[in-house]
Symmetry: C3
Subunit: 395 residues, 3 copies
Amino acid sequence: MTIKFEAQQEIAPNAEATLDNVRHPQYGRFLEEYVPGQVFVHPRGYTFTQAQIDNFSRTFMQCNPLHLDLEYAKVHGFDGIPASSQMVFNVILSLGVQNDSEKVIANLGYYDAQFLAPVYAGDTIRAMTKVIDRKERGADKPGIATIRTLGVNQNDKVVLQYERKLMVAYRGDRLPTTPLPKGESPEFPWQDDASVALPNGLAIALRNVPASVTGWNTYAEDFSAGDIVVHNNGRTITEEHFALTYQVGNTHPLHYDQVFSQSLSGKMSGNPIVYGGLVFAWLEGLASRDITENTVWELGFTEGYHTQPAIAGDTVSSLSRILKVEDAPAELSDVASIITIQFIGVKNLTAAAALEKHGTDLFIKENNKKALGKEKITDKIFEIERRLIIKKRQA
Amino acid sequence: MTIKFEAQQEIAPNAEATLDNVRHPQYGRFLEEYVPGQVFVHPRGYTFTQAQIDNFSRTFMQCNPLHLDLEYAKVHGFDGIPASSQMVFNVILSLGVQNDSEKVIANLGYYDAQFLAPVYAGDTIRAMTKVIDRKERGADKPGIATIRTLGVNQNDKVVLQYERKLMVAYRGDRLPTTPLPKGESPEFPWQDDASVALPNGLAIALRNVPASVTGWNTYAEDFSAGDIVVHNNGRTITEEHFALTYQVGNTHPLHYDQVFSQSLSGKMSGNPIVYGGLVFAWLEGLASRDITENTVWELGFTEGYHTQPAIAGDTVSSLSRILKVEDAPAELSDVASIITIQFIGVKNLTAAAALEKHGTDLFIKENNKKALGKEKITDKIFEIERRLIIKKRQA
Amino acid sequence: MTIKFEAQQEIAPNAEATLDNVRHPQYGRFLEEYVPGQVFVHPRGYTFTQAQIDNFSRTFMQCNPLHLDLEYAKVHGFDGIPASSQMVFNVILSLGVQNDSEKVIANLGYYDAQFLAPVYAGDTIRAMTKVIDRKERGADKPGIATIRTLGVNQNDKVVLQYERKLMVAYRGDRLPTTPLPKGESPEFPWQDDASVALPNGLAIALRNVPASVTGWNTYAEDFSAGDIVVHNNGRTITEEHFALTYQVGNTHPLHYDQVFSQSLSGKMSGNPIVYGGLVFAWLEGLASRDITENTVWELGFTEGYHTQPAIAGDTVSSLSRILKVEDAPAELSDVASIITIQFIGVKNLTAAAALEKHGTDLFIKENNKKALGKEKITDKIFEIERRLIIKKRQA
């Protein structure tokens, strides 16, 4: 279709500006705007490209070859290199920010995250959120919203679902944000008793994986409940995080707008804060060659808390504590185990120094410290429980 | 073809160096080297990859799903995700820098830019420039060169053409730069009365676009002449801009070579200046969810001026003023409007604060300020008029 | 394969942590752990993507259109855009870091690097290393290990092989690092008298390359032994290098972990050091439009030394000295020459200023300075000899 348009002529100098119709579009929601039961379909979708999948893995220092080496992925029965669970989580959470959390004061926690199907290059993921609960604490005080978010691919398959709690400001006299479209709420396909779609050939493939390019000491048999694995290297986060925030689709100005950050008061004021999903991804990458290199699927995680913010210049490191090792179910039972790991992030000291300084207190949830008469650990930036399917060693 | 080469042997220690044949290749041109009528074919072509298209959109915070979501692009009749107009402009301008402007003191303005066909992954774009005019102002004073540049794809289709004015130093006694190859000037396929090649199915597609992933309040009907839209978020530019300059192919050391920047005097001295095309792209991205989210084509822009430089650490924000809303021609008339927008960039204050501080003076061209007895606004970094095809809301 | 897993339950608060089983996985090797004759297969492979190939070329300012322009690559008989030699070298060296050099104090030199086949998007490269020699200098003194590394593609074709010398710390009483798997050493397919696999159509293609997008003054005939070419632009390296280290797969914390860097003493302490392979790549990119723009193959390099480290904020520039120009062998003889170049990098002054300041001393190897009674040049950061196949000008 070829169309001729009139040549563009300059207009502005002859069109006097007035301030009669000024508008300031606002996104996110204030506390009163979270209505339990309401469902948001988030703007924009995210087409995963081979480039973004690969770039995410390398930026966040992933060492599991499943996300780096096509030949390895194919030998394990995957259709191509799957996006890492960290990438899938970052993108789906970010797609929701414009509606869910662009007015949010703090992300309080991640719960019950479940990865339900692989995401490959070419897949387009869209996200939706349902408001589960809203707790007010009086006018002008921030309250707590509980939401569930899920991501679906172009074939309407749910690939990830999770719950989070948000601390949200009371709107009070401020102008309302951009309202939702009117009409019926769309269906929200959260699965209460979800199954995971793994590659068909995975169990057979795991019996026949040839001598390989992973370490020989990160198989399921190498881990026992009670083990603590100290991950040696740290990563100094640079201002790269400003751009990475938008790379995964997160629109919150707290992460890239210095003028906004300086307008805040309290813990979040000053320099842009690193988006928590990125912090989690770096911590995981730093741990990956010690602990998740032979992982074939991340089932999910829960009780995830960013206990301190990170900014550009901070160096982050991580530790893993093995909580449970059990056989995988069904046809995976003799080729893989399910391993549950408590995963801890610290900043600006090595993981070894953190363990020496704080001992086993590192593994007590910060929210439980007060009840136990313990001090909070300000070196600690993150805590979560992860559950993974890890290969057994084959003869 | 398998060839055996002799083994490499070290040579240098036995080959004494002399200074008899030293050369310093120079690129760009000085004022006297711009000859009206002359045509340059620029070195190198640029193969657009899906990765670069996607990465550009995400780096510059694009919110129009046409550039992010493959399913959305296909539903609109596009063959794949098209490169954003900002990317096409940045690449074609940059391809010309080595010849056109690597010796240039300042880019004075962009005029009459017209996007004539989509660019997709796999397309290879090459650029050429014709010198239109040269204004000297006496020996040793910089003069003004007017040039036209266009980008053609591998099928010889012009995808973008525009004019710019450059402030160029007088060569005087300095050595001439790398000369052009001898021989006839190539043909320069500038189109005076250009048509735009849009996807064949676009008009029908726009009648049938399903409930979608754009905001519901950024359709053509939501804009009227006189509206001012203040874009809420800013973006702090980091030193990432050094690398981004070369990502789009721009070779001017002003943007990435601190030693060069410190050798300069005046406004451009000190830290590397952000390449203006990148500034425009960020400003546009920040505006996109408020104003261009439902755009299906950018027709072009004119009267574009970078009125202040930006450096790493600066935070940029933008405002849009609607100048004109008219029906699109031909088969697009009932599904889309042509909207002309005056687009303004500011730095180191929010767009809202800039509007409060400067009022409607923000919308007076800086070059006209003196004649009107107005002060220039140093908070303002950019001004341009853009013309876009934006979807009408379908029942 | 669809599997139902039990819902994840929080475990940590009821599983008291103990310090009974703490481990600190360590990688790399200490001097005693290098055993001549031993072969390591390095963990992980690296699947080259079109995106990474393109991104590397643009990040490091490559101007040879072979790595930027698909139409140009195809006209020259290549199957697609080949990865630049710099990228192939960076990736293969990096794949070896976890075993070879993550405990290394310094990389002493590169020798006898030979590029033996193109690497394209979709190729997966794995690397292996053989220990050639180990020189001890007494307990607690660092010694020197000589290793050979090679990269093979998914069809078992060697694409690059090279030798390097490493300065390695004596292990002494420290804990041993992660041991190698037991069992027979794998075969190590180093080729002593290697042939290069070039595209079949290359010789014919070079006779018929149409008017093109390279400069007209960088053909083989434009270079003579004794020429010195001063490359005009520098590149200020930013903290981008932290992330680029892992983009190419290098795991050494010296390059991205500020806490680690600050724990060191001596020349390497303080800010993270730029991984030398990246420095080489930037220097080469800065030279490329003056000297390697019409290169069709890099045969290899030898005697490469990083004579000073670079950190974020440093600006690097380069110079080339032509050492030898000879006809290419076999069917390439009338279409291309083999050109050997001494290639020098400097920091924080222009290449022109370095030549003015140091004259021909710039071209004396730093290791030879003492014997010649010369001072070392601390402005100089890199020296190497490169050997390239460069097109002759066709009528």
